[in-house]
């Protein structure tokens, strides 16, 4: 079989003030017709640069193809030299013979044009279709990607569609001219897990029906296992290893691939284990020894946090006088307890209220009703001054460390700030304490005088954790604290968090959408849906024996990092999440639960 695409010793450079910087070098692989090739790697590995080079879009980002050859077999059988083709030829190829989908469905569509205009302009350009013919074809495409009410969608603007729907439109756009190659650059990274499952199944079906080849770029090994025929592993702009998906997963040859695979938590691998376990790390001898040596974590059944009937509603303003016309029931009658030294994970999809819940507990947003007790103190009843003092016990770590650290201040000052705020230490004592905290989160002391932009993502998150630890809190609310990190870094940060828990007796409210990570770190799991906890209980009980239909749906949508357990073959359609917006005066029914096992509660009704 002749390859559809060949990449041979590709080298891409980016011009900077201090001379050219190599984006990728010595990258070679081929894609056969009808085949899915996954390029996998962590951030900065050059996987996107490679895919953009194939479309020659890399030059719009300041890159140039400095060496190597790229070929693409056109429909008439001629072989196109992509690197040397004229801009006019490339315009003819783009969107016509090669289609492309990008990561962010929320920003992939032009906000000021209708869906119809964006679907038809490519068709009119490449296929010379009339407006009506293009419209008919656009409708057909929307039906193919299974968008409900396609006629109405054509008249709508992107903001009127949900994220999953928009990504379907983007796929319809890429597929409209029936390309021979579809490049998908992290197409599901920004999506919820059920929508991800639907989109992956859709790509698989279209590939099967149209016989098109797919170049799939991702950082997620589980998605690779589900989608790939062959895998290209990249690291620092170079290819580490290529092979069939089974070879890569079952018989990886390179150390980096093994480390990458080891760092990926696999949902289901904690079956039969009662307590959380640290992530496996390969290549880091010290960490490996630490994992082996760490004793099972001590747990005391002493309650730290008790949440009773917590409810938070946000007003929806409307009308000429901007009056409240409805309410978002972000958190609705949520109750749970969290013991000292334990982790409760709140899981659920975007908009389920898990972040609002965490913030309501800390009173970063004011809850509408309900009680929050931390260490025997009623947080809701505190006045401003007492609340400020109480914040010593409860700290937060956010998703994006770059956004949560002040870019203009040195790290030591940012870690020292909370200590100074509470007047806990000064002078030499303060400096010693800050240095100690840096040791604790395993940041070298020379980083103390650095600024956030001088650190990598994982180091920044360590700094954010250091800042939270500075005042010796009892409770840390970690809101998607590792979601933005690469898997190997994620594993290190998670291990650090677990060590700190074992050493300091910290309690975590771990808010996450990643079921596999949650399985690894949590003692208890609460599943949230439309502002309520639909199921809560000990982690082994909830994840191994889910009883609520939503928990079951959520778990079934999680991709598993094992190519022999493929889930996403045929069209999937999960029940879409309904709106948590209710009219004023709507009386929400109280949450009542049935106990299906020891401490395992399932929402009634």
């Amino acid at each position: 079989m002749n390859a559809l695409v060949t990449v041979d010793h590709l080298r891409v450079e980016f011009a900077t003030d201090s001379g050219p910087v190599v984006g990728v070098e010595d990258v070679s692989f081929a894609i056969n017709p009808g085949e899915t090739v996954c390029v996998v790697g962590e951030s900065g590995s050059g996987k996107s640069v490679t895919s953009l080079s194939l479309m020659r879009l890399v030059e719009f980002g300041g890159g140039t193809i400095a060496g190597g050859t790229l070929t693409f077999v056109r429909p008439d059988g001629s072989v196109l030299d992509v690197a040397g083709a004229s801009p006019a030829v490339m315009q003819d190829v783009r969107g016509n013979e090669i289609g492309m989908i990008f990561q962010e469905p929320m920003t992939s569509l032009n906000p000021v044009f209708t869906i119809e205009r964006q679907l038809t302009d490519g068709l009119m350009l490449h296929r010379g279709l009339s407006k009506d013919a293009a419209r008919a074809r656009a409708l057909e495409m929307l039906r193919q990607v299974r968008i409900p009410e396609p006629e109405r969608r054509l008249k709508q603007y992107p903001h009127e569609l949900s994220g999953g729907m928009r990504q379907r439109v983007v796929i319809a756009m890429a597929m409209a001219c029936e390309p021979r190659l579809l490049i998908a650059d992290e197409p599901t990274t920004a999506l919820d897990v059920t929508i991800q499952a639907e989109i992956l199944a859709l790509i698989n079906r279209l590939k099967r029906e149209k016989g098109m080849a797919v170049l799939f770029i991702t950082h997620d090994m589980a998605v690779v296992a589900q989608m790939a025929d062959r895998v290209v592993v990249m690291y620092h702009g170079k290819i580490v290893e290529t092979g069939t998906v089974e070879d890569i997963f079952e018989n990886p040859k390179e150390e980096y691939t093994r480390a990458l695979l080891a760092a990926v938590p696999k949902l289901g691998e904690m079956k039969g284990k009662a307590a959380p376990e640290k992530m496996r790390l390969i290549g880091d001898e010290a960490a490996r020894a630490a994992v082996a040596a760490s004793a099972p974590m001590q747990r005391r059944s002493e309650v730290l946090l008790e949440v009773k009937h917590l409810t938070t509603r946000f007003p929806v303003k409307g009308g000429i006088l901007r009056r409240t016309v409805a309410q978002v029931h972000a958190v609705e009658d949520v109750s749970f307890t969290l013991n000292v030294g334990e982790t409760l994970a709140l899981v659920g999809e975007s908009g389920c209220g898990k972040s609002s819940c965490g913030r309501s507990i800390l009173r970063l947003i004011e809850p509408t009703s309900g009680e929050v007790w931390i260490g025997g103190r009623d947080i809701g009843a505190l006045n401003r001054q007492d609340l400020r003092r109480a914040r010593r016990d409860m700290q937060m770590v956010f998703q994006d460390p770059f956004a949560s650290l002040n870019p203009y201040r040195r790290l030591k000052d940012q870690v020292a700030e909370p200590i100074q705020n509470f007047g806990l230490a000064r002078g030499q004592e303060l400096r010693d304490r800050v240095a100690e905290i840096f040791d604790r989160v395993r940041l070298p002391r020379e980083f103390m005088s650095r600024f956030p932009h001088e650190l990598s993502g994982g180091q920044r998150q360590r700094a954010a954790i250091a800042r939270a630890l500075a005042v010796n809190p009892k409770l840390i609310v970690a809101d998607e604290a590792v979601s933005a990190l690469d898997v190997s870094v994620q594993a290190q940060v998670l291990n650090l968090m677990m060590e700190l828990q074992a050493d300091l007796g910290l309690s975590y409210l771990f808010i996450s959408h990643d079921m596999a990570v949650v399985e690894r770190v949590a003692h208890h799991v609460g599943v949230m849906y439309l502002g309520r906890i639909v199921e809560i209980g000990p982690r082994p009980s909830v994840l191994d024996n889910p009883r609520h239909p939503y928990t079951q749906q959520l778990l079934s949508a999680v991709p598993i990092a094992d190519p022999r357990k493929r889930k996403f073959k045929d069209d999937l359609s999960f029940k879409p999440i309904t709106s948590p917006i209710f009219p004023l005066g709507h009386v929400a029914a109280p949450s009542t639960y049935t106990e299906v096992g020891p401490g395992h509660l399932v929402l009634n009704g």
Binding site: M55, Q91, E104, P111, G318, I320
Partner: protein, 313 residues
């Protein structure tokens, strides 16, 4: 629809506040209309009589009511210095000044938008520097300086345009435009800088967006990508700034019209201020405020047509 109603309500509210402020200020100023009509050396009894006739002894609220009522019904009274009905005077002058305002804005936008887009497309290259230098040159020198340069270059040396005067467009449209051109150009140069920088910055942001990459990945030409996908998204903030500059323009024309001896609103305002012609000042301020408000309302409605996301609000 709610949005449009909201905006209309706020325009009406603002106009009401403006009537209050203009009325209050002109009444707080020393000297009154009667004194101004009769002169400071006049007979105190005659002055008192005139005050009574003009209703200046009535309570403030009654005077305010009468003034607003007059404004609403078109009874704007007579100008003290021109001895003519204010309504008639203003309707002529507003036409004259509209020509300058519209032309200078057209010149500014016509130059700034392409210049800004050009700079954004070639960001951090020489084109970018040329664009920002041009824009800065326009704004760093006061507009009356540009007025003088225009008169020297285009009127005196080249002789392409008249250096001063006003021609009524209903008599000779082409000649009217020729007379308005140089002051408009001088004003436009000052306006251009902001608009160029704004276009460059919004356009730079938009060109970095994913949907621009998607548009390129569809195989659309660079022209379509930049001028249709890009500019349509970037133009909103630019016209908002342009709308706000209309207010600034009505301030600038006072100097510029006097420089070019162009008898429009600016020139009229200057005369009214110089001679303490209170009724004329009140009416002028109110009309300028109303025009600025309405232009900004139009700009917001235009924004509505450009960006569908606002229609929800």
């Amino acid at each position: 629809m709610t949005y449009v109603l909201n905006r209309l309500l706020s325009v009406i509210l603002t106009l009401f506040l403006i009537t209050l402020v203009t009325f209050a200020i002109t009444n707080i100023l020393p000297g009154d209309v009667a004194m101004m009509i009769m002169g400071t050396q006049s007979n105190p009894e005659a002055l008192a009589g005139l005050r009574e006739t003009l209703g200046l002894n009535d309570p403030m609220l009654v005077q305010y009511g009468r003034w607003v009522g007059g404004m609403l019904t078109g009874e704007w009274g007579d100008s003290l210095i021109f001895k003519k009905p204010i309504a008639e005077l203003l309707s002529q002058k507003i036409v004259a000044s509209s020509i300058i305002v519209v032309m200078s804005m057209a010149i500014a936008l016509g130059a700034a938008v392409p210049l800004g887009v050009w700079a954004a497309v070639h960001r951090d290259k020489w084109q970018d520097s040329v664009s920002s230098t041009t824009a800065l040159l326009g704004v760093s020198l006061p507009d009356f300086f540009w007025g003088i340069v225009m008169i020297l270059v285009f009127a005196k040396w080249l002789g392409w345009f008249p250096s001063s005067g006003f021609v009524d467009p209903s008599e000779n449209f082409l000649l009217a435009v020729q007379h308005a051109f140089l002051p408009s150009l001088a004003l436009g140069l000052g306006l251009m800088a902001h608009l160029t920088r704004m276009t460059r910055s919004t356009m730079t942001g938009i060109l970095g967006q994913e949907f621009i990459r998607v548009a390129r990945a569809k195989g659309l030409s660079e022209g379509t990508v930049v001028w249709s996908y890009g500019l349509r998204n970037a133009i909103g903030p630019v016209i908002t700034i342009a709308g706000l500059q209309i207010g600034y323009l009505f301030g600038s024309i006072i100097v510029m019209e006097s420089l070019f001896n162009y008898t429009g609103m600016g020139w009229l305002t200057y005369q009214a201020l110089l001679n303490r012609d209170m009724p004329l000042i009140q009416a002028t301020v109110f009309v300028i405020a109303a025009v600025v408000m309405l232009t900004n309302l139009l700009v917001d409605l235009l924004y509505l047509a450009i960006d569908p996301r606002i229609r929800l609000g």
